[in-house]
């Protein structure tokens, strides 16, 4: 899952060869603007067949690939 999410983040948000690791700060690091979080959320929901409540989809919860995995796992039952 980690790799799929990382791959998506790179394809979606990185235009140059900025290095993205599992812990790279995505939102506070300026890679993902808070506007574009929406498509990340929808991507996760579609791919893992889950539903993340809006109040859980905070910039903090989306701030790295690792954190995103934690969030997804919470809703994967």
């Amino acid at each position: 899952m980690k790799d799929d999410i990382k791959k998506y983040v790179i394809k979606e948000y990185v235009d140059d060869d900025t290095d993205v690791t599992y812990d790279t700060p995505l939102i506070s690091g300026g890679i993902v603007d808070s506007f574009s979080m929406v498509s990340l959320k929808r991507f996760l929901e579609n791919k893992y067949q889950i539903s993340i409540p809006d109040d859980k989809a905070t910039p903090e919860a989306f701030d790295s690939v690792n954190k995103i995995c934690l969030l997804v796992n919470e809703y994967l039952k």
Partner: protein, 415 residues
């Protein structure tokens, strides 16, 4: 008296921070009317200097066109100075409706509603026509006022990479379950001077049943064979659901904006758009001026043809001089310098040579993309452009950037 010394200190610190970061904006006072030749007081208190302006949005040279000035005078005499009311109480005159009809005709749409500015049009339109069941999919480089409008709207928001049609298509698929989808773009992008691929976008919007929104502020009056805008250039007139544009650039340069498009969407704005409901519309003399501008542009394409010719001359001149410009065919011609300090230095030296052009750098454009943005006008004569080219050559030589590649410039000056 709650503005304590501590509060004052807080703001002083922020302002000083902007200054040290080189982000502090300063105005230059122009003592003449807006035109190719202007008289400028800069720095403040300095004697007036005659310079050639190549950074105005005065694309068609209408800002001080004698017929437009006269029409505004006449409008002032016949319809007064102001309305002292918003539109729906007692702030609508016959000339406001006349102008709306003329814009509809000019842009080839179904209906039009005026706004105090295009910033207001963009600020109010999304909230008026979309709800939380809908999605807005915007190009990542749209104008700041569109971003503001999007923020005020409860619909979901997503973005696509600048002018990347494959990415847009993916997004349209991703959001296919939404009640309404609206694709949002500028017609001409103001920083790079490139145009949105409206033919492809119309195709995609048809395929995925989405609405298409275009801000044509940097296009109305001169892009396309008869100057109707980016939709004319791409052969899709009548197929854009919402066009917003300004009267503050090519179409006279004073102020005001509008939403033009599908009848029902325009009517929704009349019922619900907050800048329309809660702010005075365009003042009568300005309305009269814009009406004259549209009369002139509808009667003849001379001015946009001259602009096209001037633009070709300018682009070729810069390339021949060995400068790097963003390719394209619009009158927005960025001269790329990559380094922020270099852009500021070149701008200052150009001013010394009598040429007024401004450096743009981060955060207005991305890091390492600093530039001088030049904007050509039908108000320029070839002699203006020749003088400006000479200045660019002289200053370019001083900094040894003529004929140099991007790599070489960056190696020497840094990003």
């Amino acid at each position: 008296m709650a503005f304590t010394e501590k509060t004052r200190g807080l703001y002083s610190e922020i302002l000083t921070g902007l200054q040290t970061a080189g982000l502090f904006k300063q105005e230059r006072f122009i003592h003449s009317a807006q035109a190719a030749d202007i008289e400028v007081e800069y720095p403040t208190g300095a004697p007036l200097k005659k310079v050639i302006n190549i950074c105005a949005n005065n694309y068609l040279g209408m800002s001080s066109h004698p017929e437009v000035v006269k029409a505004a005078h006449d409008g002032l005499d016949s319809h007064g100075y102001g309305m002292s009311s918003v539109r729906f109480i007692c702030g609508t005159q016959d000339i406001h409706r006349t102008l709306e009809s003329m814009v509809t005709q000019f842009l080839g749409t179904e209906d039009t509603i005026l706004f105090p500015s295009c910033l207001d049009a963009n600020g109010g339109v999304f909230e008026a026509v979309l709800t939380k069941d809908d999605v807005m999919i915007s190009d990542r480089l749209v104008h700041a006022s569109i971003i503001d409008g999007i923020r005020l709207c409860s619909a979901m928001h997503d973005t696509f990479k600048h002018s990347d049609m494959e990415h847009l298509e993916e997004k349209l698929q991703l959001h296919s379950d939404k009640r309404l989808k609206m694709v949002i773009t500028d017609g001409v992008f103001s920083m790079d001077g490139d145009t949105a691929k409206l033919d492809k976008m119309v195709e995609l919007c048809e395929k995925y049943n989405a609405l298409l929104f275009v801000d044509d502020s940097h296009a109305s009056g001169f892009i396309g064979k008869t100057g109707r805008g980016t939709h004319e250039k791409y052969g899709v007139m009548g197929e854009i659901d919402i066009i917003t544009t300004t009267f503050g650039k090519g179409l006279g340069g004073a102020s005001g904006g509008c939403v033009s498009g599908r009848r029902e969407l325009v009517e929704m704005c009349r019922q619900k758009a907050r800048p329309y409901l809660f702010s005075n519309t365009i003042a009568p003399p300005v309305v009269a001026g814009v009406i004259k501008v549209l009369e002139i542009l509808s009667a003849s394409t001379d001015r946009r043809d001259k602009l096209e010719h001037n633009t070709e001359f300018w682009r070729k001149g810069l390339i021949d001089a060995g400068l790097i410009i963003k390719s394209g065919d619009t009158p927005i011609v960025p001269v790329m310098l990559f380094n922020a300090k270099l852009a500021q230095d070149v701008s200052r030296d150009l001013y010394e040579e009598g040429i007024y052009a401004i450096g743009f750098f981060f955060p207005v454009v991305s890091q390492g993309q600093a530039r001088i943005r030049t904007q050509i006008s039908a108000g320029h004569e070839i002699h203006h452009l020749e003088k400006a080219l000479d200045a660019f050559k002289k200053v370019g030589k001083k900094y040894d950037i003529l004929g140099k590649s991007k790599q070489e410039i960056i190696e020497r000056y840094g990003m």
